[in-house]
């Protein structure tokens, strides 16, 4: 299978690989997928609590080149967005940007799920913090 230039670029030069401290109340972590399915993505965001803007985004992905590229792209897009803007990112945007073929659409779905899971984790921490 031939990969698009953008997938190859993200695969060879992945953006924002790494981890943020999971326990930090300003960090939201999303872990989606399963090893037996061949795809696991961990996506993390650090949100500025005063502005609600995502300052930092990091990922680690076990998966094919398209899964790595989808999560790398997602972290690029997340930085500078508000939490609500981040939730508006759709898997179809990722498919279009990376020119993913039909068999790789699930990679983009997983990236969208990872974004939603990371933001949900952040929101939960914020609510828990306010309640205490």
């Amino acid at each position: 299978m031939a990969y698009s230039d953008k997938v190859v670029d993200h695969f060879n030069n992945p953006r924002n690989v790494g981890s943020l401290p999971k326990q930090d109340p300003t960090v939201g972590t999303g872990l989606v997928g399963a090893p037996e399915c061949g795809d696991v993505m961990k996506l993390q965001v650090r949100v500025n609590p005063d502005t609600g803007v995502i300052d930092e985004a990091k990922f680690k992905t076990f998966g094919c080149g398209s899964a790595i590229a989808s999560s790398s792209l997602a972290t690029e897009w997340l930085k500078g967005k508000t939490v609500d803007q981040a939730l508006a990112i759709k898997n179809t945007d990722i498919v279009a940007e990376l020119a993913l073929p039909p068999v790789k659409i699930h990679c983009s779905v997983l990236a969208e799920d990872a974004i939603k899971a990371a933001i949900a984790d952040y929101k939960q921490k914020q609510e828990a913090g306010q309640a205490s």
Binding site: Y3, V8, F11, P14, V17, S19, L31, V32, G33, A34, P35, E36, C37, G38, D39, V40, M41, K42, K60, T61, F62, G63, C64, G65, A67, I68, V103, H106, V109, L110, D113
Partner: protein
């Protein structure tokens, strides 16, 4: 001088040996005759060339030339052997035995026979990829006519105990077919020593041309009869009609002869190269798992899972090396390798596997290049792998609640 991409996928197909091509060339042009033409020199010289090739192939497997039936390749040979025997001996019984790790040409042939009312037992394999002989014995009933077990597996290279299977088949009075495509020419294979009744062979895995194969069909003790799959002019003792692929057959014969003469030294050389690959990978990386028996294995095969790294991303990272992976992402079905799944090691190791198939034209220099490349790419991908990070943090991955998708 390395030539890229480096070809380590000799189980898929092998490059043709130049000596084979040289032998074939005249049969495309000046010696173009039909081997079935009995009335002129063109036919005679084609027939003579076919008979020389038939002997070269028979000599490689300890058979008589009359027991070699030429086909278009091993898929056709598997179909002819299994369907041909099932139909021919249907009055005797309607039960066949094979194994879950067989090639699709065997499995899907058996599946079709099941649709036609035959019963098939698919033996499981042990963790090392080999069948359990007690399970084979237990599976044989009074209605069993055929057992089909491959000599060497195309993915994990394990050598099934064909001598013992042949002895059991003889004792129980059933036929034994073996898909010997990966084994013949690589390791000693003798139809009499192993009590084989039928064996599927192909040229393109032994440095010969594509599109030509053979089925060994035993003629004595006992004489095996087959219902043909293709009707026509009655070529190949009526078992396989169709004008013979003379240049292909000449090439197949030459390839078989070279294997017979060079197998011992070549096997040792390729085995040493494979061991070098394995050893150097283990020096550079941790958490590697070899799939299948290391003891009963083809010299050129290494199938390794690089834990916590997905196979397709690994192939993408080593794109100047031609290998294949059991990862779902590299298969059309999006399912990981059924052979690796059958070993019971867990799907995640199947997703992380690479099959290396070393052959005649590979070199130590290539091995060293591939090792260096893999160590660097696997290390990079593990840095990027959430699973590797979790394991290093002491998380037990089997205890995590994954969101399966």
């Amino acid at each position: 001088m390395l030539k890229f991409p480096i070809y380590f996928d000799n189980h898929a197909t092998s490059p043709m040996d130049p000596r084979v091509l040289e032998a074939m060339l005249p049969y495309f042009t000046e010696r173009f005759g039909n081997a079935a033409s009995r009335n002129h020199k063109y036919g005679w010289e084609a027939e003579e060339a076919v008979e020389i090739a038939r002997k070269q192939i028979a000599d490689l497997i300890g058979a008589s030339p009359k027991e070699i039936v030429f086909t278009s390749g091993a898929t056709e040979s598997d179909n002819l052997a299994i369907k041909g025997a099932a139909y021919m001996y249907r009055e005797k019984g309607d039960h066949l035995i094979t194994a879950v790790t067989e090639h699709k040409a065997v499995i899907d042939t058996c599946k079709r026979l099941e649709k036609e009312g035959f019963k098939v037992t698919y033996l499981p394999v042990r963790k090392d990829g080999l069948i359990d002989l007690d399970q084979l014995r237990a599976a044989i009933t009074g209605k069993t006519t055929l057992v089909s077990i491959m000599a060497a597996n195309n993915e994990i290279g394990v050598l099934q105990p064909i001598d013992e299977i042949g002895a059991i088949a003889r004792e129980k009075g059933i036929l034994f077919h073996t898909d010997a495509v990966q084994a013949v020419g690589k390791v000693p294979f003798d139809v009499n020593a192993s009590n084989v009744h039928m064996a599927s062979l192909t040229a393109h895995k032994i440095y010969g041309p594509k599109g030509v194969g053979a089925l060994y069909v035993r003629r004595r003790n006992p004489r095996v009869l087959l219902t043909p799959g293709i009707d026509g002019g009655g070529h190949e003792r009526g078992m396989r009609s169709g004008t013979l692929n003379v240049p292909g057959i000449v090439g197949f014969g030459k390839a078989a002869e070279i294997c017979r003469l060079e197998m011992a030294s070549e096997g040792a050389r390729i085995g040493a190269m494979r061991d070098r690959l394995n050893q150097k990978l283990h020096e550079g990386l941790d958490e590697l798992y070899i799939n299948g028996s290391t003891e009963h294995r083809l010299p050129g095969n290494l199938n390794i899972s690089f834990a916590y790294v997905e196979g397709e991303s690994l192939l993408m990272g080593i794109n100047d090396v031609a290998v294949s992976s059991g990862s779902a992402c590299t298969s059309a079905s999006l399912e990981p390798s059924y052979v690796l799944k059958a070993l019971g090691a867990g799907d995640e190791l199947a997703h992380s596997s690479i099959r290396f198939g070393l052959g005649r034209f590979n070199t130590d220099e290539e091995v060293d290049y591939v090792v260096a490349k893999l160590v660097s790419v696997v290390s990079k991908l593990r840095e990027m792998s959430p699973l590797y990070e979790m394991v290093k943090d002491g998380v037990d991955l089997t205890k995590v609640e994954w969101s399966a998708h």
